[in-house]
Symmetry: C2
Subunit: 608 residues, 2 copies
């Protein structure tokens, strides 16, 4: 059969992207050619099995031997293939599972995750286009009364006007020729716009390290833009404990930390608005989620008592504050909504994650976990919700790991050891620089699975890539010639210890929550893993090192930045705000350090 010049169309779901390619090209090659980054740790050799995709329509080349080996019977029956082996025979429609899609596209994807369909009455912000009667010498009603009367006529009972709007009301009514679009928060008018201007919302997830912001059209619910920046408070301490120390020791320390955040948010707002052709004054509502310490910094609340035993939050209720009290450059009548903190170390970001993931509605037995320097876990069981915070440390953010780094270009994010050799994939397909969280997790799991380290984490010195150092042994992933820096990328005994500490902290939290609820891991219907690291980690590796319990892999779901999704939902729906309040009161905080036998449990999980 002679080679044809037939052009084949591939439709990639759920991105909705259509690409064209020639015959005799694998799905992986076609994806790469079009900038779609699929997980392909082995470089397309069929050894890693990471590039699983699902055929939705059209014909693919027959199943290869490699695929028969790497895919389960069930997967094969469901149309799963390895993208590095399967070739389209005609136009096809391919579904890329979340786990297979990497970085940019995955981030883009999670942004599209469905936002709630909200009835008008449940909207936090609504707009009404008004026609208002002009004053005369015999109709002396004040401008504020005119506006209220018009709103009452439009069916808004007991309406009020935001104080900040009062100072511009008269001029705006006349400028808009008495035909304004009134922007309402509940029954309170907060802004007057020209009728063609949409009201905007800002959802912000402030992490200890990173800030993610989303600009949302409050009329349509559509996300118009998103931006991420580093949390500038890093200049005052890498973790919240050192920032609390800074705030307590420095005159105006709290103000300094707050202003750093506000300045960053204002820059984010301006950038986002410019990108989307909008104005910051169109933003009438914001939702901010973060952990309890960052929450206290953002609101300039006292942190002295939060930083020391018994670690008490100043405020745990949801807050609804004027944006002007923060100095945000949004509309004068804009508000900032901040959901409840559950406890000193379980913050509004975790609550937003539970809302964003939809788990709050479940009647099943489910766990949701958000891994970070502090790992928050919630267990839903028979209507009860148990939560805790584990001091898992910064190892999965690449800190305290000899070759650790943040998840940026050149970081090894996937690793397998097959035969005597390690195969890895770096972010941006750059030459390797170091190991990010998912890379070091994979590395430790692969070392254990391959028998290179034992259950205590000690090396088998006879393995080819293991070499002796001054203190101990280390495993060489990329030697001096292969590494971009000229310095070998290795896993040391100390690195393994860090991972053991982190995973045992997380596993102990999981076990104690399950003990508290009186269940075994087998009872779990689902296990959600959220957040940046949680989205990129390899669940199999996490199970392999004992960080997650051994339950069927299909019970795990990696749900992306659900806290951001939750924040955007809370921006739109007052019903969901009530839900999140109800959820916060339903949650039972379990203080791990006060749990009987906590230390014994912790130690018992310090094996691989």
């Amino acid at each position: 059969m002679e080679p044809s010049n037939k052009t084949i169309q591939i439709e990639w779901q759920p991105l909705g992207l259509k690409t064209e390619s020639g015959e005799d090209q694998t799905l992986l090659a076609a994806a790469q050619k079009n900038g779609l980054r699929l997980a392909a740790v082995c470089g397309g050799n069929g050894t890693c099995g990471a590039c699983k995709v699902q055929r939705l329509a059209g014909e693919l080349s027959p199943l290869s031997e490699t695929e028969k080996e790497k895919l389960t019977q069930e997967e094969i029956a469901s149309g799963f293939r390895l993208a590095c082996k399967a070739k389209p025979l005609g136009n096809v429609k391919i579904h890329i599972p979340k786990a297979t899609l990497l970085t940019e596209q995955r981030l883009q994807l999670e942004g599209e995750s469905s936002l709630p369909d909200i009835s008008d009455s449940a909207r936090v912000i609504q707009t009404i286009d008004l026609t208002i009667t002009e004053p005369t010498i015999t109709d002396h009603r004040a401008d504020s009364v005119r506006l209220k009367d018009a709103l009452t006529d439009s069916g808004i009972a007991n309406c009020t006007i935001h104080p900040a709007l009062l100072s511009t009301l008269s001029d705006e009514l006349r400028l808009l020729k008495w035909q304004p679009r009134a922007v309402l928060r509940g029954n309170e008018a907060v802004a007057l716009f020209s009728p063609e201007i949409p009201p905007l919302g800002l959802a912000v997830d402030i992490g200890t390290t990173k800030i993610a912001a989303y600009l949302v059209d409050l009329a349509t619910g559509q996300t118009l833009g998103r931006q991420g920046v580093m949390n500038p408070q890093i200049g005052y301490g890498e973790d919240v404990v050192s920032r609390i120390a800074y705030a307590n020791a420095t005159p105006d320390g709290r103000e300094t930390l707050q202003h750093a955040l506000i300045a960053a948010l204002n820059t984010l707002i301006e950038t986002l608005c410019e990108e989307c052709g909008m104005a910051p004054k169109q933003i009438v509502e914001s939702v901010v989620v973060c952990n309890t310490a960052i929450h206290h910094f953002f609101c300039n609340l006292p942190v002295r008592q939060l930083g020391k035993y018994p670690f008490i939050a100043a405020v745990s209720e949801s807050l609804n504050l004027p944006a002007t009290s923060f100095g945000l450059c949004t509309a004068a009548g804009a508000a900032v909504f901040i959901p409840e903190c559950v406890a000193g170390y379980v913050g509004a970001d975790h609550l937003a994650m539970l809302i964003g993931s939809g788990i709050y509605r479940t009647n099943n037995t489910m766990i949701a976990v958000d891994i970070g320097t502090n790992t928050e876990i919630s267990l839903f069981h028979q209507g009860s919700v148990y939560c805790c915070s584990c001091a898992s440390g910064p190892a999965f953010e690449g800190a305290h790991i000899s070759c650790g780094m943040r998840a940026s270009a050149g970081a090894i994010e996937r690793l397998r050891i097959s035969g005597k050799k390690s195969h890895y994939q770096t972010i941006g397909n750059q030459p390797p620089v170091g190991l990010c969280g998912s890379g070091i997790l994979d590395a430790v799991a692969a070392l254990r699975t391959s028998g290179i380290i034992n259950h205590r984490g000690n090396f088998d010195p006879d393995f080819p890539s293991v070499r002796k150092t001054v203190k101990n042994y280390e495993y060489v992933i990329a030697d001096e010639t292969e590494s971009a820096s000229g310095k070998a990328i290795t896993v040391t005994r100390a690195d393994i210890n860090e991972i053991i500490l982190a995973k045992s902290a997380i596993r102990s939290g999981l076990e104690i929550l399950m003990q508290t609820a009186g269940i075994q891991a087998e009872a779990l219907d689902a296990f959600l893993v959220a957040g940046a690291f949680g989205t990129f980690l390899d669940v199999e590796s996490a199970v392999a090192i004992g960080m997650f319990p051994e339950i069927p892999l299909e019970k795990f779901s990696q749900i992306g930045n659900a806290a951001g999704t939750g924040a955007r939902s809370l921006l739109l729906s007052s019903e969901l705000r009530k839900e999140s309040s109800r959820l916060a009161t339903r949650m039972t905080y379990v203080e791990l350090s006060a749990y009987p036998d906590f230390n014994d449990i912790l130690v018992s999980w310090m094996y691989l």
Copy 2:
């Protein structure tokens, strides 16, 4: 009978002051010796009849011929005497009617005017001394939740915490050893004090020219101190019209005018608190009353539409705003309450006057008038309230009068003409400098009564003290040798015109309100005159020139600074705040310039 050295005690009511004097001394002399300033226009000759006092107990010298002439039968029967004639024969108790007592003492007196007796539930601010449970490792409630739980246990349902308190709460709870005095506004905690510290309130009456401020103990209702200063906005225009022009023409003009007021209030607060040994941060509540234009300046509201036809207020509803939004140096959780404006030229100060005078409760037919550059009048009749504002001009503040001056030392405040000579009394008994409002009013009335001017205001050139000037005639009250300045103090034809314009404006307003209500002056049960000028003017003179209707003099009451009293009541009682809202909605504003035949009515009152 030989002169005795017997010492006689006089108790002066309602001041509660006790003085001692020798025998054979008139009550007037005894009063003057002790710094009590009684009205005594004629200098104690028994010709003016102004120094009426009432015997409450003890014996006085027999009734003199002068007294029989100057006092009515009814007054004599009630124990009234002239202080310049009556001498105590032993220890006596004397009541000084308001109209007889001048300046300082009178101002002091009005401060004592009874404030409402308020039930605990009607208090705007209440305090509760709490004992709060300290946190432990197993009791993780946030500090805010601890405070709320303690308040709930004390019977405060659905309590909330003021956002400003949140930022100090944790440190204060620990500083106060978990035993704070919680200061509550309704069910909202606004401050935490040490249990011995009383919460304070500030009542402010901002006039176009003067600001009066009162510091009130909110626990006892007692007025601790009072202070008056000039309104610093005078630097931007003497009247509100020129200040509105300034605000519109100048960049940041509104801000400049607002900041001038705030700076003056902050100085007042600091002075008052220092005087009373209190701290500004104890002030948790303020009430501000003023006319509509000053109200708009104070709140930084737009005034463009207020300054031009048809003169529309931006906002007329009552406002309840955080003190921090004004930059006041009071407690972080303090609020500022500003009652309703009734119309563009009937402000919250008039409403506060109606509350302070108690007239709002009446079922009778009554008028209450507050004379100033704008004179506000309210007529209560059969459950309806009609109100208007008259452009009476600044003549009664001494402006636009050739020898006019403010009511300060050396101003002629009372004047009578008997025989061919004028007798006068000056403020502080200083040599005469000029005429204040009540002096010019007396002068015009006396000139007319003596036939020196006719009903058009034209001089009889043959009267001894009438002399010709370049333009017209003038009446000499104090010639060049008598006047403190060496410049004669006179009343000119132009001065008389100013007074005619002012009184016809006021009388027209009174007549139109009565026409609107369908009543005659005879139907009036009472006629209240409020404010500084209203308190010091001679009602007989006001009736004589036709400014007030000819009704029996005893129907008039001069009620002092009722707006200040009203503001202090609104500081204490949430019931009265509701009353003032109900009153504002009951009031029908009558726009005089839109009234049929307004100009004819105005002209018809331009005769003396």
